[in-house]
């Protein structure tokens, strides 16, 4: 019996902001491969008496991300304390946001037109980093607090993603957007962007237990982990028939060498972080004028650029390629009097040298070429003589090689009308 199986995937993405200073103190936020504990102060070490003062730039950067992801901005918002014990968390709580995140209810549109809803985009602080190592023959755990207090934005999707392919597209789009906004370099290798998918399956209306996946540090691993997990959950369900309950969510790590997911700690009961409003930071009021100011100054995002290009006559495939090429986009904009579709195509196929005179190159490329058959036939004969193998392929039915031959003729003739060449070639090859 065939089951109808739909994966249900939600994604939590953490992005470290590349602000100058940390979230709540003046220490530098750039912590990558710095000498351990060289960028710390009483605040990010959580020393007695130290108090957090929020970084305005980080708040605005979070608003940028929220606005780019079509979110609503909470005018009244605040920070909360999320309390748990871990050695890399020096205060015993993480300053995060709970019931009133900076941004909520957004969406991201996939190429298919499907909208992935976003639950929230909030701002918090990163933790320190544990290093498990051997020192003087002793196994020790060392703590580096350089990362402690670095601004971290969490982007949480609704479980609207239905395949590993959609998950990858979603992640790549988020990555492109946050980079385009200039708020983070989102370097996966440096851990500046971290992914945590939660996945289960809908099998004919039966839901498998939720699984949160950890230690995924590339988009391809996310795809592999999700695919493995989808198969694993299907097998598990066929074997046991266990369905999702309120309390049977588990966490699994991903082993990128063995390409499997494996159980981490079991969550026996719902975690209780004892959230409460952070009393050291007054509630924030995000004024509509600030939101408008940020919205106005948002750089154009890849999505918007692509649809604008398509609207001006550029082929979707070309639009996608050119959307990331600033020089090309400028060339198109400066030459808006030229046929945008053709110009874009010339740029994609490198027929136009963008450092030269674009208008004259365009004119040359588009003027009608040689149509005099008497002049063209000797050139055609020459080209056919030089490409016996291609002719063989053509005769076996691979008619697509015709394009190659036309190109050769046009090049040899320095310029020729493609249609005339095509007719003559087809005639010759009969």
């Amino acid at each position: 019996m065939e089951n109808k199986i739909t994966p249900i995937i939600g994604l939590e993405v953490h992005v470290e902001l590349t602000t100058k200073s940390k979230m709540f103190c003046a220490c530098p936020a750039d912590h990558f491969s710095k000498k351990p504990n060289s960028q710390t102060c009483p605040v990010c070490l959580g020393l007695p008496g130290a108090l957090p003062v929020p970084n305005q730039q980080a708040i605005e950067d979070t608003l940028k991300i929220g606005l780019a992801l079509n979110c609503q901005i909470n005018e009244n918002t605040h920070f909360d304390r999320k309390q748990y014990f871990y050695p890399d968390l020096p205060k015993g709580y993480q300053i995060s946001q709970y019931d009133q995140p900076l941004c909520r209810d957004g969406y991201l549109t996939l190429d298919s037109g499907k909208k992935i809803r976003l639950l929230r985009v909030h701002l918090e602080e990163d933790t320190g980093k544990l290093q498990h190592t051997v020192l003087d023959g002793q196994k020790v755990s060392l703590i580096d607090f350089n990362r402690s207090g670095v601004p971290l934005v969490e982007i949480v999707s609704e479980p609207d993603i239905a395949s590993s392919t959609e998950a990858k597209e979603y992640l790549k789009k988020i990555h492109a957007i946050v980079r385009q906004l200039g708020v983070t370099t989102a370097d996966m290798e440096k851990g500046q962007m971290r992914l945590e998918p939660t996945v289960n399956l809908n099998i004919d209306g039966h839901f498998t237990p939720l699984v949160e996946l950890k230690n995924i540090n590339s988009f391809n691993f996310a795809v592999a982990a999700l695919e493995y997990e989808i198969n694993r959950q299907l097998g598990e369900w066929q074997k046991t028939g266990v369905e999702k309950t309120k309390s049977n969510k588990t966490t699994r790590g991903y082993d990128s060498v063995k390409k499997i997911t494996f159980p981490q700690r079991e969550k026996e009961e719902a975690k209780d972080y004892r959230y409460f409003p952070e009393p050291d930071i007054p509630p924030l009021v995000i004024s509509p004028s600030l939101v408008e100011e940020i919205r106005k100054n948002l750089p154009q995002l890849p999505e918007a650029i692509i649809s604008e290009l398509i609207a001006s006559g550029v082929k979707p495939a070309d639009a996608k390629i050119l959307s990331k090429d600033k020089t090309a986009l400028t060339a198109l904009e400066v030459n808006s009097d030229l046929d945008q579709g053709k110009l874009a195509n010339f740029i994609v196929n490198k027929k136009i040298d963008l450092s030269g005179d674009i208008k004259s190159q365009f004119a040359k490329l588009t003027q009608a070429g040689e149509t005099d058959t008497a002049k063209l036939i000797p050139i055609i004969d020459q080209v056919l003589q030089e490409n016996p193998k291609v002719i063989e392929e053509y005769k076996k039915g691979k008619t697509t090689v015709l394009g190659f031959l036309i190109g050769q003729v046009i090049r040899a003739a320095k310029d020729a009308d493609a249609k005339t060449v095509s007719t003559l070639l087809v005639e010759k090859l009969k």
Binding site: P48, P52, P54, R274, F276
Partner: protein, 471 residues
């Protein structure tokens, strides 16, 4: 103290210094001698920075010789100070009165400590307090209780126990303190000194071991109202390191003290404060205060603060919740000692706070307490629409005997009834002495005014003190 005039206020010391009647070295030496003599009995100081203080005094005298105008730049130049042991002092042990921090030497100083140092004050040492500022008697210190200098069988009040006792015993001209639910005003009341709790957000909390972050107010204990104003001029103001401090100009409080009280100045007495008030000493003290106010031409008005009775309950939800969070950083990994060093009172508050913040209980406890807090604030807003200030007892009884309440934490909590609401509402308050009872124990009262109106509070307190004590 041979060369000093009575009383040993900051302004008297400054006058003598300016007149070259005494040197900073002599002042510091006199105080250190007095501390050496009395501290064994009082247990007010936990750490005495004798050598550092002497060296600073010597340098200060050299500066005065070269630059007699130094007092205009540094208004507390050469004046000794002691800090409650919650105030971080770089290089000087800071214990918070707890064994958990028994050996903690801070890498930085708090904003108030720095401001006072920059104003020329010389730190003589660190003062005993209830561990983590949890307590109203001083008996919760892990380093032994402080004694009341007026009667050694009695508590000095808490949690700023060492601060109150040291000033009352003339071991210091002034001392810093923290007030989360009355911890400056109550010991000031028990020891017969002036205790100022500024508005929440008026003075920076940076670099002071946190008790309950939304309630902690940083103030001081002095011999008189003038000194209270002089110190607040230094400590008040926006601090870029404390996001909860407010951007408001800091008035020259000392210059405004002797301004006449405004016409039709009204002082309210809340009828809820008098319900159940039976202690004859406290009633007598209130009567003395009313008389002095009448003499000042102030109109006394009965007001109502209807949510007063919920004050203690709301306070003992919000405060332990924040305590449980703030003490989480002492996690046995850092600071050299384990969590086993927490005393009973800290454990009690950690457990209560952890419970009330837990999922499923948060709404019933913490959220509800925050709503009560809003109602209490509204009570005061309405009251200050009618009156300029509120008069109340500081505590329901004068100082009690050591050990009398230690087995009954609840009755200890109830002693905060007149003080906690000012913390819940963020108001400024001042405790002022009115006299003594037959056991030689000080009596006093408290004034409250609207948030950020310390100049009005000090103005009233100054005239009140003058009328009552002729200062």
């Amino acid at each position: 103290m041979t060369k000093m005039d009575q009383p040993k206020t900051i302004h008297h010391l400054l006058a003598d210094l300016k007149a070259k009647k005494i040197s900073v070295t002599e002042i510091v030496a006199d105080y250190l001698a007095e501390i050496a003599k009395q501290n064994g009995e009082l247990n007010a100081f936990l750490t005495i920075a004798a050598e550092e203080a002497k060296a600073q005094a010597k340098a200060a005298d050299a500066t005065i010789a070269k630059d007699p105008a130094i007092f205009t730049q540094k208004p507390l130049f050469g004046i000794p100070v002691g800090h409650k042991d919650l105030f971080l002092t770089r290089g000087l042990k800071t214990t918070a009165g707890s064994k958990v921090l028994a050996n903690y030497i801070p890498q930085y100083s708090g904003t108030v400590v720095k401001k006072l140092e920059n104003a020329g004050a010389i730190t003589l040492g660190k003062l005993n307090c209830d561990a983590w500022a949890h307590g109203a008697s001083g008996e919760n210190s892990d380093f032994g209780p402080t004694k009341n200098p007026h009667n050694l069988d009695y508590v000095p009040g808490g949690s700023s126990s060492g601060s109150a006792a040291a000033v009352a015993a003339d071991l210091l001209p002034f001392a810093t303190g923290t007030d989360t639910g009355g911890s400056i005003r109550e010991p000031a009341n028990f020891c017969g000194v002036v205790g100022l709790k500024p508005s929440y957000g008026r003075v920076s909390r940076y670099g002071i071991v946190a008790m309950a972050s939304s309630l902690d107010s940083i103030g001081h204990l002095t011999h008189d109202v003038h000194d209270a104003a002089a110190v607040l001029e230094i400590t008040a103001g926006k601090d870029p390191f404390d996001a909860t401090t407010v951007v408001l100009p800091v008035p020259r409080y000392t210059k405004l003290l002797d301004q006449p009280l405004g016409k039709n100045f009204k002082v309210g007495i809340a009828k809820e404060y008098l319900e159940g008030l039976t202690d004859p000493d406290v009633l007598a003290s209130l009567a003395v205060a009313k008389e002095a106010l009448a003499e000042l031409g102030v109109e006394l008005v009965e007001i109502s603060l209807p949510h007063t009775k919920y004050g203690i309950a709301a306070y003992y939800i919000v405060q332990p919740a924040e305590v449980s969070s703030n003490l989480a950083r002492y996690d046995s990994i850092r600071y050299g000692n384990t969590r086993a060093g927490f005393g009973d009172e800290a454990k009690r508050r950690i457990m209560i706070g952890t419970y009330t913040l837990s999922a499923g209980y948060y709404d019933a406890y913490y959220l509800k307490a925050m709503k009560v807090r809003t109602l209490i604030r509204r009570d005061f807003d309405q009251a200050f629409g009618q009156v300029d200030a509120i008069l109340s007892p500081t505590s329901p009884t004068p100082a009690f005997k050591l050990g009398q309440n230690t087995n009954d934490p609840l009755s200890m909590y109830l002693a905060d009834i007149y003080t906690v609401t000012a913390n819940l509402a963020g108001l400024p308050g001042i405790a002022l002495p009115t006299g003594k009872n037959k056991n030689n124990l000080p009596l006093g009262i408290q004034f409250l005014t609207a948030q950020y109106t310390e100049e009005k509070l000090l103005n009233l307190a100054y005239h009140f003190e003058k009328t009552l004590h002729g200062k």
